[in-house]
């Protein structure tokens, strides 16, 4: 009898998780909470404080991006080695003044490790498409399922100096979650993700498109927008630095917040609410 109840409760838990994947709504959450209650006796450790945090679209996009950005930066540094000089304006070559003479990026940073412009370009151009269409799909899905509206909307008071300072203090104390609402993004997270999704990623994609001579014929206004092909190339490089900095900060915070729990939540969707030090 007990074994039967255990199986039934596990089934209830499983079904609730499935429905959460499909579209999260309060009733499903309550169903899940009830199932957790029922299975508490059997499964108290894993079920007690585990919450569903990331939906399948977010998780899929996260890993597609992680791979794409990693490969795009590596291959992009390989491409940079072919002509490590940045210019402003439409033209720029060896006899024109460069605003930045870049270092030669070492083999352990580039794809491929040994200099090969053709293969760097093959990697870069393939994963450029993956990044661009991934972002497009994610934007469409996240507008339709209101992910942006629910998770990333900056609310009244979020940007007040008091809230910003309070959040900064919490970050410095390595407390990243509001105990009353642990799955909500804090204001720094919201601003970072908004900047990433709506500014940095579109900018790196469109400056990339502006480097294509055929697309210059099709979309000449893109060149006007960025101030010429060599300016677009410079902005493309600066965006890469922005993405690299984001990745470093992101990974550091993942480690500080608990690498295993955070990584698992981005794979399975389920996140254990951490017990953070409280004053």
């Amino acid at each position: 009898m007990d074994a039967f109840r255990f199986r039934r409760d596990r089934l209830g838990l499983f079904l609730a998780r499935l429905r959460l994947e499909a579209g999260d709504c309060r009733e499903v959450w309550l169903m899940h909470a009830a199932a957790v209650q029922r299975s508490e006796n059997h499964d108290s450790l894993t079920a007690m404080k585990t919450v569903f945090r990331h939906r399948v679209a977010t998780r899929l996009w996260h890993w597609i991006n992680a791979i794409s950005i990693f490969i795009l930066i590596g291959s992009g540094l390989g491409i940079s080695n072919a002509h490590p000089r940045l210019y402003w304006g439409s033209y720029g070559a060896n006899f024109d003044p460069a605003w930045w003479e870049l270092p030669r990026f070492p083999a352990w940073l580039t794809i491929p490790a040994s200099y090969n412009l053709a293969i760097s370009r093959r990697w870069h151009l393939f994963f450029g498409l993956v990044l661009a269409f991934g972002l497009l799909a994610y934007m469409i899905v996240s507008l339709l399922n209101r992910h942006f509206a629910r998770k990333l909307r900056v609310r009244r008071g979020d940007l007040s100096r008091r809230n910003l300072l309070a959040d900064l203090r919490e970050h410095l104390a390595l407390r990243f979650h509001d105990p009353a609402n642990p799955t909500a993004y804090n204001i720094f997270q919201k601003l970072t993700y908004l900047a990433l999704i709506f500014i940095l990623l579109p900018l790196v994609i469109f400056t990339g498109i502006a480097l294509s001579p055929a697309m210059n014929a099709g979309l000449p206004w893109l060149l006007d927008l960025f101030g010429g092909r060599q300016s677009a190339r410079s902005i493309h490089f600066l965006c890469m630095i922005g993405l690299a900095l984001f990745t470093v900060v992101h990974l550091t915070l993942v480690i500080l917040a608990g690498a295993i729990n955070e990584t698992r939540s981005m794979i399975t969707g389920w996140w254990r609410v951490p017990e953070e030090p409280r004053p």
Binding site: H83, N94, A113, N116, I119, A217, R229
Partner: protein, 247 residues
Amino acid sequence: MILGRRSLIAGSAALLAGCDTVIQQPAARRILFLGEDMHRGLQRALVNRNALAPEFTGAERSPFFRPNGTRDPGTSEYAALQAGKFADWRLQVGGLVAQPLSLSLSDLGAFPQRVQITRHDCVEGWSAIAKWQGPKLGDVLKAAGMRDAARYIVFTCADLYGGAPYYESIDLVDAFHPQTILAWALNDRFLPVMNGAPCRLRVERQLGYKHAKYLMRVEAVASLDGIGKGKGGYWEDNVDYDWYAGI
């Protein structure tokens, strides 16, 4: 934390090395190289086939148009042509045409001329703007009576790479594009030797290595098989450059 950071660095080094292992696998290579066809398909679908590459004013030109690749073919045949100021040079137009042509520089000058100030983009990343003049390739192909079976135009050059002439090829969309010209003048002078004298291709919606210099032969063909190693150009054959260089 230290452990986490170390394993992150080790992990990313392993991933980078992994990419180099992946590209050795023929199947992975094929998938990755599909990127070229995807870009070509997307660009051809999105961009009008006659859309013009941006053109500039005289004041927007680069102070100096740098050469790249061969600066001087250096063969005795080329030296002889150069000594005669290219009076004996003839451009052979053949392959799948009704009437093969043998054109001198003044023959090229007799066609309606196109003058354009355009940006040259090297695959390495640099750009230079210059003024070019010459007949449209499309007009020359029409004069030779190109046959319906033709799908590609192949350009053979006077400079040698690994003992064989440099060559390149483009499809008919770019061959008949209004800005695709057989340029014999750069910035109002005859082409200098370092820039491809006496005549080079300008195919403005593609990268620099497609703009074959020191032109000797223009041929209309049905297929690129059997020419060089079959990939449509010296760099395509030997170092995996994209044949479609509009990217």
